[in-house]
Symmetry: C2
Subunit: 372 residues, 2 copies
């Protein structure tokens, strides 16, 4: 294996591929980056137990003198590529498995890893991908992934459901105390498919979606493959049955209150200041006779807060008071693009939902806590 | 205690004072902020076991209706002041020791702490302070404090020696493997004084020195007080005898090599990449026949690096090779303002020193390691 490449392409490719690199792993070979050098392209492969990636470099700077495949210690290779100062990097394998990296005044020689131990990883893209725009998929992830469960007792809830049906894609995440749902229209009709993608996969995937390109999504039996420019990104799926969440979402709302989103976030944030680490920071929302609302919290140990806030719109007969987790509601509010949001209430112990005028297809649901 | 003040002054004062606030402490009262309200000023006091601070607010926005002293839970008070949205903050003590804080739409009531438990803290400023410019003291701290010891077995080395003698101030830090020394001229002659200021004190003090003001330094028996604008900053001193470091510094140098500082930092940084957490990253510097230098490192497990670098000036007869800790030398180099630095060598097992043309009065010393 002998080739040279511009440093910039190599660094970009390695930074992308590092998202799937293992740090600690029961398979030490996976701490390596696999290089497959052909005459017209270099393919970089990385994998951990959940995610695998393949990044292809193919440009006019690539000069291949000798093809070959080798596995290079990942962390060192990436740090070297980032830190060297030169336009061009020459990589040469000497003495069977010593990887020599020359760039400018720098001359590194790394012990190669045992390439025979690197597992066979296939990236089978089938026909008929689901096609999404970068920013569409980035929004879906941003607006749902935060609501997944962090507890491992119901593993299926640690991922986001992607429910594809005809022209519709519905993404749902819930930890059973709150739920986030986003629906978008697809340009092309697709067969019915339901998959649950792990939280971590979506987090890493989201970091790749920084351009205004398109991304193709291929669904196989137990995995999903995303194809994005020169990158293939593959993840395992969560197994099990995602709960039927549609029936949890109320449809009749005797009380509706609208707020300026940022004012509401500020008031809830201040009302939840007097809480000590570990305890849930519960606040109360109450409508007053004068048409104003107050958000309050109380801790006998520390003190109390009363935040007054003027709703932009109210529909309500009589008194209304409800208590909820400040953290859950603030996290929900922050993913809205609308500056004005509406909270829809069914009753003080029933889940309430939040919608925003400019956030078509998005719904946030939070379970209240009992008012003492 | 009843008064109102502009939020900005209150927040600025609290942020300054928070540098001495205790988080955990054997004296829980020290997690509180003490407020002493007079008709013309509000004094904020904070303290932990090492540092005490007093910040005075006195401006035309201050309106005092009733004087008094109270201790308010520090962390909550500071968070509230930061997060409230209003120009003016009204603070009123109700029911003996409930602290009510009103600002805009926000209404907080905090349980006050037992003010009788707050210790008496005196800030005695004597005559004849040593007067320094903000940026002078900031440089001294930046250029020496990093070289203090982190080990507690010789407590005196965890601080920086300030050695004042006539018109000279010499600051020295050493962990016994490297040493940093900075000398400046004082405008006014001072009596001989030697004090050792703890690392943490200097770190916090440095954060206050963001303006172009003057700072006054008062030295008492076992403490030092800094007076800076509306802030008094007091710290305990380290007890014991700081080692006589002058005799450690060589004066004859058969070998001198000058480098562009940033090129040298880059080469050492890259040469030290192939090291695994925990081990010391030792690199070798060697002069070659062709007038170039190489910096190398080698790990049988991972691989090796050769970095070539062209000195800007050499004085040397014959061969020269020396090995040192990459971390120590890089940390020393980073505090120089000069773009060109010179390394002065006495021998391969003797300490070497580094100086920079534009860094008058500064000297960095590093102990080499034996070349294998």
């Amino acid at each position: 294996m002998i080739f040279s490449i511009d440093r910039e392409s190599l660094v970009d490719a390695l930074i992308s591929a590092s998202r799937a690199l293992s740090n600690k792993t029961p398979m030490p070979i996976l701490t390596g980056v696999k290089l497959d050098v052909d005459y017209d392209k270099v393919t970089i492969t990385t994998s951990n137990s959940d995610i695998s990636m393949q990044v292809v470099i193919s440009n006019s700077h690539l000069k291949v003198e000798k093809t070959g495949s080798h596995v290079i210690p990942g962390r060192f290779f990436i740090e070297i590529a980032k830190k060297i100062k030169a336009e061009t990097v020459e990589i040469t394998v000497v003495d069977d498995n010593l990887i020599n990296i020359k760039a400018g005044q720098s001359d590194f020689t790394l012990n190669g890893m045992e390439k025979e131990l690197y597992p066979e990883i296939t990236f089978n893209t089938l026909n008929n991908p689901i096609i999404l725009k970068d920013e569409e998929l980035r929004s879906i992830i941003y607006q749902t992934n935060f609501a997944t469960s962090v507890l491992e007792n119901r593993p299926i809830l640690t991922g986001v459901l992607f429910d594809i049906n005809g022209h519709k894609l519905r993404a749902v995440a819930t930890d059973s105390y709150r739920l986030s749902q986003k629906e978008i229209e697809l340009n092309i009709s697709n067969d019915l498919k339901q998959i649950v993608i792990p939280h971590r996969t979506l987090e890493e995937l989201s970091r790749l979606l920084t351009s205004n390109e398109k991304i193709e999504m291929f669904i196989a039996d137990n995995k999903v493959i995303f194809k994005h420019k020169n990158v293939m990104f593959q993840s395992r799926l969560l197994e099990g049955r995602f709960p039927e969440t549609n029936k949890l979402i109320p449809t009749e709302f005797p009380v509706e209150i609208s707020f300026n989103k940022n004012e509401l976030i500020g008031a809830i944030e201040r009302a939840s200041l007097l809480y000590q680490g570990g305890k849930d920071n519960i606040v109360k929302l109450q409508l007053k006779d004068d048409g104003n609302a107050i958000i309050t919290s109380h801790s006998s140990e520390i003190g109390k807060v009363i935040e007054e806030i003027t709703p932009t719109h109210i529909e309500c007969n009589g008194e209304f008071i409800i208590a909820f987790s400040a953290k859950y509601v603030m996290e929900s509010l922050r993913v809205f693009e609308s500056s004005d949001i509406t909270m829809f209430f069914t009753g003080v112990v029933k889940p309430f939902i939040i919608k925003g005028e400019l956030d078509e297809g998005m719904l946030q649901l939070v379970l209240p806590v009992r008012v003492e």
